[in-house]
Symmetry: C2
Subunit: 197 residues, 2 copies
């Protein structure tokens, strides 16, 4: 079985583009998909950045917004940059790990991305998280409690450390069993092709 690991960060606009299309594409290509949330914050910090490069380098940030607008428009999905960017994605990332264990992960992940980048909501907000959990068919109270467990916290830290060890420096990233790393939504097609090599 061909396999592709999808490294995503909830604060990342380009991860939104991939999250909205990767399931269908993997299925069509006959590739098993592994969803892997991680945090870019510690990776950016190790590069001396205290926020998103889109904030540190305004020309890059301005470009990113227009680029995503065009890409989203071409794919028929909405896009709206939330007022506060980048958002705190810690709780959403932990919840996604709970969901991936319990079977409602991928629906929840897409609901979070839609809340954030289609509706411009704040995904660190408890109400937003509750309604995305409900939309994914999960019990908000139970899920929010599980997300605070030591196991889940360790799991997310381990993912971020693994990402760093693999040389991941941005999101989305894709890795194949043979050790190839791909960065960026525009490499998704190529990553799927390479997943069986």
């Amino acid at each position: 079985m061909r396999q592709l690991t999808f490294w995503f960060e909830f604060a990342s606009t380009y991860s939104y583009l991939s999250a909205m299309r990767i399931e269908d594409m993997a299925e069509k290509a006959g590739v098993e998909l592994v969803w892997k949330p991680f945090l870019l914050g510690p990776i950016f910090k190790s590069q001396g950045w205290n926020t998103s490069p889109f904030n540190l380098y305004p020309a890059k940030g301005n470009y990113m917004v227009r680029d995503i607008e065009r890409m989203a428009q071409g794919r028929g999905i909405p896009f709206r940059l939330p007022e506060s960017f980048p958002q705190n994605s810690l709780h959403a990332a932990r919840l996604s790990l709970v969901g991936l264990h319990e079977g409602w992960g991928s629906i929840f992940i897409k609901e979070v991305y839609k809340a954030e980048f289609a509706s411009g909501q704040d995904i660190s907000n408890a109400e937003t998280l509750s309604s995305t959990l409900k939309a994914a068919g999960a019990s908000p109270n139970k899920a929010l409690e599980s997300a605070q467990s030591t196991e889940i916290k360790k799991n997310l830290r381990a993912n971020t450390e693994e990402a760093m060890a693999l040389g991941i420096f941005g999101a989305p990233s894709f890795t194949t069993p043979s050790g190839e790393l791909f960065w960026g939504d525009d490499r998704l097609e190529q990553a799927l092709e390479w997943s069986g090599r």
Copy 2:
């Protein structure tokens, strides 16, 4: 007539990928191509960088090499990172402006990129430049003299200033008459599509 401006920097690996395919693609799409050399150095400096981000951020640099290897392999073109990177592209850029005025520009540009990223040669070297000029059908001595003219020096500075004013922060970049900016070889198809809008 649809038009696309191709902003390239001779030190840029991803500009090599675009330079080797843009003419054919533009012709097929019925798009007039404007070649525009500029220097990334002053733009990087304004962002606080004293060298390529691929050197400042090793994870990004390692990734870039493998990414270009895969892309070049897929397109059937060779790739080799020169020992010294990024190279000093000043003289090649000025010479390309002479060539674009005199009609041998695009052949010279491709010859320089091949010398640098297919053969790993140093493009600031006078002999390398002479042999690429010859390969492009130009007279090396005459071209090297013209490249030192005040007009050509001003022209290159003006291109770099225009790039900055347009919000360009990397290479290759593509701009359309309607004011759209695209960054990266992976946006070339989309830029050609938008060139007529």
